[in-house]
């Protein structure tokens, strides 16, 4: 975080042609030239490396097709539902585990060790339970984001500086005032960070499930482009997807004040 802060500062002091910007432009230009050379040479199989022009056209075609936005809406809805269900249950479980040493010791190891297991392998089960429609994708996304959020909240609750709780008590705060004015703001960074991690894995879980078995959503479009061997379209979709997901990630971080000292 400090790094990006420094970078931004450097960018402000010399807006256009700082050495960093020059190096970046050089790298981008180098990659593009190399790409175009490979595309033109035909060293790789036909269309594995399509020309930049083709990719550019595909991106424009994608962004100007209403169909794409409909699929994007389906996926966004699935991710939103997954994040809501997984986030709320994660918050609840995290509060219980973080608030009680006993519960934490009893159940947290399970979450801790189950967290980094591959979730996509549960997809066959999710299909049996929730069918082949969006519900099974939501279930997989929920499973994915529950763990990082619950673990972040539990850890955040334990990391609250005890002196802040003493300050609250010294001013005789009521229970709800303690929760609202001390615990929640003191935990804002771990909570936001948990949501950020949760969004990342919910997105992966949902989209992978869509690529495996579905008839709608961005994941479906990607695998459809694969089966039609429409490489420019696949590149276009991956590029747009990455930009969207990196943007959403940065947005949550910004809203949570993760890279600045500003408040929530």
């Amino acid at each position: 975080m400090a790094e990006t802060g420094r970078l931004r500062q450097a960018a402000i002091t010399s807006p256009l042609l700082s050495p960093v910007t020059l190096v970046r432009l050089a790298i981008i230009a180098g990659v593009l030239v190399l790409w175009e050379t490979i595309a033109a040479s035909g060293w790789l199989y036909r269309d594995v490396v399509p020309s930049l022009l083709a990719i550019g056209r595909a991106i424009i075609a994608l962004l100007s097709s209403p169909e794409y936005y409909w699929h994007l809406g389906v996926t966004a809805g699935e991710i939103g539902a997954a994040l809501t269900i997984g986030g709320l249950s994660g918050l609840l479980v995290g509060l219980v585990l973080g608030g009680s040493r006993f519960m934490g010791k009893a159940f947290e190891p399970y979450l801790y060790y189950l967290g980094p297991t591959p979730k996509i392998i549960f997809f066959p089960i999710m299909i049996m339970w929730f069918g082949v429609g969006p519900a099974s994708k939501v279930a997989l996304g929920t499973m994915s984001c529950f763990f990082p959020i619950a673990l972040s909240v539990a850890a955040g609750m334990r990391q609250i500086d005890p002196v802040l709780i003493r300050v609250g008590r010294s001013f005789r705060l009521k229970q709800w005032q303690m929760a609202w004015k001390i615990y929640l703001p003191a935990m804002r960074h771990p909570i936001i960070n948990g949501v950020r991690l949760g969004l990342g894995v919910a997105l992966i879980g949902t989209l992978l499930a869509e690529t495996k078995l579905s008839n709608r959503g961005i994941g479906f479009l990607i695998i459809q482009a694969y089966s039609l061997f429409d490489m420019p379209r696949m590149y276009a979709m991956l590029i747009v997807l990455f930009i969207l997901s990196i943007g959403a990630n940065a947005l949550i971080g910004r809203l949570g004040g993760l890279d600045s000292i500003k408040r929530l």
Partner: protein, 256 residues
């Protein structure tokens, strides 16, 4: 007060947690036998346990495990060599680091595994696709943590090196690298976890290779207890994998 006193009794919370796990498994068994839960959606835990033997023998579980392990191993070697070298390079060339570190961080948060259809086109349905996918997904944290570890070396240690007139390469191998080891290993830990997740995940998705394909196969054959048993086995493998990495990390970390 009462409960925090209970929490201090060694082993009791863990016992309670384990007890709850056992009780919920038993509850499932009873509910399924009673017909409350449909046994064609959730097989009985006893059935799952019973099918382990069958899965091990008939589905060649151990051979598949070895295949998955090999893929993880090659990807791990790749992310270690490439990640640490790239990290060291970026640390050495500050301008390059300042230009690209945010890109690497962005790549770390991007859903790179969605590129698997692309890799499928390039490398075909093969182990190479799986290994490359795991490599791409596991690389960014290793690079980032290597940079962090190397630039976080305490000033005084560098000054010690200077006072002994160390050459650049001595400085790197004798001071910077050992000092950065614990942090680099944190990156490797993350990278290896991503590796395992991606190897198994892509195996499942492209229906090729070891344990991931086994789950896909069993599910397509509607072998419910077998599917559940295979999933349990994969979870077991990843938990053991994770615990081992944790142990190594703790062992590498200087006592403080």
């Amino acid at each position: 007060m009462n409960r925090s006193a209970l929490a201090r009794i060694p082993g009791l919370p863990a016992l309670f947690g384990f007890g709850c796990l056992v009780v919920s498994i038993l509850a499932f068994e009873i509910l399924i036998r009673a017909g409350v839960i449909n046994r064609f959606i959730v097989p009985m835990p006893s059935q799952i346990a019973a099918s382990f033997e069958r899965v091990i023998i008939e589905e060649h579980l151990l051979e598949r495990f070895v295949l998955t392990f090999k893929e993880c191993f090659y990807a791990a070697i790749l992310i270690t060599l490439v990640g640490v070298s790239l990290g060291a390079l970026l640390h050495r060339v500050d301008l390059l680091r300042r230009a690209t570190e945010t890109w690497v961080a962005a790549a770390a948060s991007a859903p790179t595994v969605l590129m698997y259809p692309l890799f499928l086109v390039i490398f075909g349905r093969s182990s190479t696709t799986i290994i490359m996918m795991a490599f791409v997904a596991g690389l960014p944290p290793v690079i980032l943590k290597t940079i962090e570890g190397l630039s976080g070396t305490r000033r005084v240690l560098i000054n010690v090196g200077r006072s002994f007139n160390l050459t650049q390469s001595q400085m790197f191998w004798k001071i910077l690298f050992p000092a950065a080891m614990p942090t680099i290993f944190v990156g490797l830990k993350l990278g290896l976890i991503f590796t395992l997740i991606n190897v198994v995940g892509v195996e499942f998705l492209i229906n090729f290779g070891g344990l991931g394909q086994l789950i896909n196969d069993l599910a397509e054959r509607y072998d419910l207890p077998g599917t559940y048993a295979a999933i349990c086995f994969v979870i077991l493998v990843s938990v053991v994998f994770f615990v081992v990495i944790e142990r190594i990390e703790r062992w590498l970390r200087p006592a403080d």
